[in-house]
């Protein structure tokens, strides 16, 4: 079933300038991720894995190379096109949740839909269903500060999935959570992605999480060290 390449990176290079020094964050990385695939980018901090994720999400531009998502060249898009692209195709889960503190759970989840121009009643219905799906049906009117870390991350997951994006990027989604919650959150993300046949890209330094992916990319010093097929995960 995994046939179509959804994300293709071709010799992507990213160089940061720090004063006179050049830091090579990504060193000619080429990879492809298939539609519906779960991928883990595993590596220590500073390995360039987050940069790689930001490139794929169009948040950063590569110094060189091509990033093609669904036949579209991300690296050639302008800010306006990128915003629209993200709006329709991409969901995000962050390590630090990145919820807007003044908004309730329901409002946070429906915010992305607001930018798509979906009317209030419809988007709140969608947000409510999504929050119920992540088990927060009784926390709709709570502000982030009134919820635990695990709950906040679940709100953020609901926000990432509510627009039914093609790809969900998760950047250290469990970095701020304890072990028990980590497993709950990971189960939630993967089961939701599986349900909607979405592609999932997870960045982590936690080897415990790695087995959630079909494939694990080991990143070190801006290069892919090795790619491991996860036999245990199989084809669920």
């Amino acid at each position: 079933m995994l046939l179509e390449d959804l994300i293709v990176l071709n010799k992507v290079r990213k160089v940061y300038r720090m004063g006179d020094e050049k830091i090579v964050a990504l060193n000619d990385i080429s990879l492809s991720i298939k539609k519906g695939e779960f991928v883990c980018l595993l590596g220590p901090s500073g390995s360039g894995k987050s940069t790689l994720l930001n490139m794929m999400a169009g948040l950063e531009k590569p110094t060189r190379g091509e990033i093609i998502i669904g036949n579209k060249h991300i690296e050639k898009m302008n800010e306006k096109q990128l915003a629209q692209f993200r709006q329709l195709n991409i969901g995000f889960v962050f390590q630090s949740f990145n919820l807007i503190p003044t908004l309730t759970a329901l409002e946070n989840v429906s915010l992305g839909l607001t930018f798509r121009g979906i009317p209030k009643r419809k988007r709140e219905k969608m947000a409510k269903e999504m929050l119920e799906a992540v088990g927060l049906g009784d926390r709709l009117r709570h502000k982030p500060s009134e919820m635990s870390g695990g709950q906040q991350q679940r709100v953020s997951i609901a926000r990432a999935f509510v627009g039914n994006p093609k790809i969900v990027f998760a950047d250290e989604p469990t970095g701020n959570l304890d072990t028990k919650t980590t497993m709950e959150v990971m189960d939630l993300i993967t089961s939701m992605a599986r349900e909607n046949k979405q592609t999932l890209v997870i960045v982590t330094h936690d080897v415990e999480i790695a087995p959630y992916g079909h494939r694990i990319f080991y990143i070190r010093d801006g290069s892919i060290e090795k790619i491991v097929e996860n036999k245990m995960k199989g084809d669920t």
Binding site: E79, A83, Q87, F92, N98, L99, I100, T114, G117, P119
Partner: protein, 444 residues
């Protein structure tokens, strides 16, 4: 992002920081109302001028005189057009001229029992009297065929006094009823004066004309208050008889009578007065109207208004800077929020519109409240300033407002303050738009 959501979100953001929003709005209120009140003083001044002018006479009447070429120093080439019936006919043909009448004027005394009044006697075409804005207070205006029927100026009743009593040092108010009393007019200005002992000057033998009052004009118009009006044919006949009695050189007089001394021209609308006046001047006559003063006054009040408005504008400028400051502060606070919004799909336009809307709201809110506040202020100025107005010489007779706010100014002020808000918010909005989503989301 649709507009309803934009408005909802913008208002929510403003409400979230009530105090700061309020203080910024307060700045705009002060700015807007200072402009409005300052301008309203200018409008009040203009209105007061106009009121005063209209009491000096009608603004649509042009007075035409003969031009005496010799005085202008330009030599004999300048025209010296005659102000005769031909000229009158010519004036009538000028577009926008509604009526024309010559005015013949002479002086004499009215005798009413023991009271006398020195007055000018003006001859006018009875058929056009109404056209020339004569406002009747009692009785009626002149009509053709009135002959010795006269109309009194509104202030004439104060002109009668008892000369015998005055000579004895007593003054009393004259008890006259102009509508009913029997009066006559004479050119003999020594009439009623006590004869000096030993005086032996031979006085001309003037005729006494019985006059019949048909009406009294409304009081309060400087131009028509003093003097009496009679049909022009009557007055011309009286002048002839006067000259005969005085035995003046007929030839000299005859040349002067080749034309009228003065002609009044009524124009249909104030906007055309200038044109008509210029055309009459081009024909070689001297022409003036109250419009000349009005222009002068308009220019003056424009300058005054620009000055006053300028003072108000300074405070609005300060308020505009306040808006910019508030919005920039707000961006600093909301950097992360802007980043999140961008990452989850807000377009650049959405971000820009959101910030512009918020600053426009501050402007509009301040402008609207400023208008309300100005009305209060204007009311207070008119109420308590009226006494002050009395001191500085405004006539108490007519209700003259010191501060006037025209309707258009209300909308202009609100629109302008919203515009100021948008302009002030433009820089912050661009800044918010250009924030890098990634950097923004990383700020704590």
């Amino acid at each position: 992002m649709n507009s309803i959501d934009l408005i909802r979100m913008g208002i929510k953001n403003l409400w979230r920081r009530k105090l700061r929003t309020f203080l910024t709005v307060l700045g705009v209120i002060i700015g807007t109302s200072s402009i409005i009140v300052m301008l309203s003083l200018g409008f009040g001044m203009q209105e007061a001028f106009q009121n005063q002018l209209s009491r000096m006479g009608s603004l649509t009447i042009i007075n035409v005189h003969r031009r005496y070429g010799g005085y202008d120093g330009m030599g004999s080439s300048s025209q010296e057009a005659l102000l005769d019936d031909k000229a009158l006919a010519k004036f009538k043909k000028i577009p926008h001229v509604r009526a024309v009448t010559p005015i013949v004027e002479t002086y004499g005394v009215i005798i009413n029992g023991r009271y006398t009044a020195h007055t000018s006697l003006k001859g006018i075409d009875p058929s056009v009297m109404e056209e020339f804005d004569f406002k009747i207070g009692e009785g009626r205006l002149l009509e053709p065929g009135d002959d010795f029927g006269v109309v009194f100026g509104g202030g004439m009743k104060y002109n009668f006094y008892d000369e015998q009593a005055m000579a004895r040092g007593r003054y009393e108010e004259a008890k006259v009823d102009l509508m009913k009393d029997r009066m006559f007019f004479t050119f003999d200005t020594s009439q009623g004066m006590p004869t000096m002992p030993g005086e032996n000057i031979e006085r001309p033998r003037y005729t006494d004309y019985k006059i019949k009052t048909v009406g009294i004009l409304e009081e309060g118009n400087y131009e028509t208050d003093w003097g009496i009006y009679a049909p022009i044919s009557t007055v011309e006949r009286m002048i002839k008889e006067k000259e005969r009695a005085e035995g003046n050189n007929r030839n000299q007089r005859a040349s002067a009578r080749q034309g009228y001394e003065r002609v009044m021209v009524k124009v249909d609308d104030i906007d055309h007065v200038q044109d008509v006046q210029q055309r009459i001047k081009d024909e070689g006559y001297d022409a003036y109207s109250l419009n000349d003063y009005l222009d002068e006054m308009k220019r003056f009040s424009k300058i005054a208004q620009a000055l006053l408005g300028g003072i108000g504008a300074v405070s609005l400028l300060v308020a505009a800077i306040g808006i910019t400051n508030t919005m920039v502060m707000s961006i600093y606070e909301r950097t992360k929020e802007i980043g999140i919004m961008k990452v989850i799909g807000a377009s650049l336009r959405d971000i820009k519109r959101l910030f512009l809307f918020e600053s426009a709201m501050i402007g509009l809110l301040g402008g609207s409240l400023g208008v309300i506040f100005s009305f209060g202020l204007s009311f207070a100025i008119n109420k308590f300033g009226a006494n002050f107005g009395g001191y500085i010489g405004f006539d108490g007779g007519v209700e003259t407002k010191i501060s006037i706010i025209p309707v258009w100014l209300i909308f202009a002020a609100m629109g302008f303050s919203a515009l100021i808000g948008i302009i002030s918010g433009y820089y912050p909005a661009r800044r918010a738009m250009k924030l890098s989503a990634l950097d923004a989301i990383r700020t704590e």
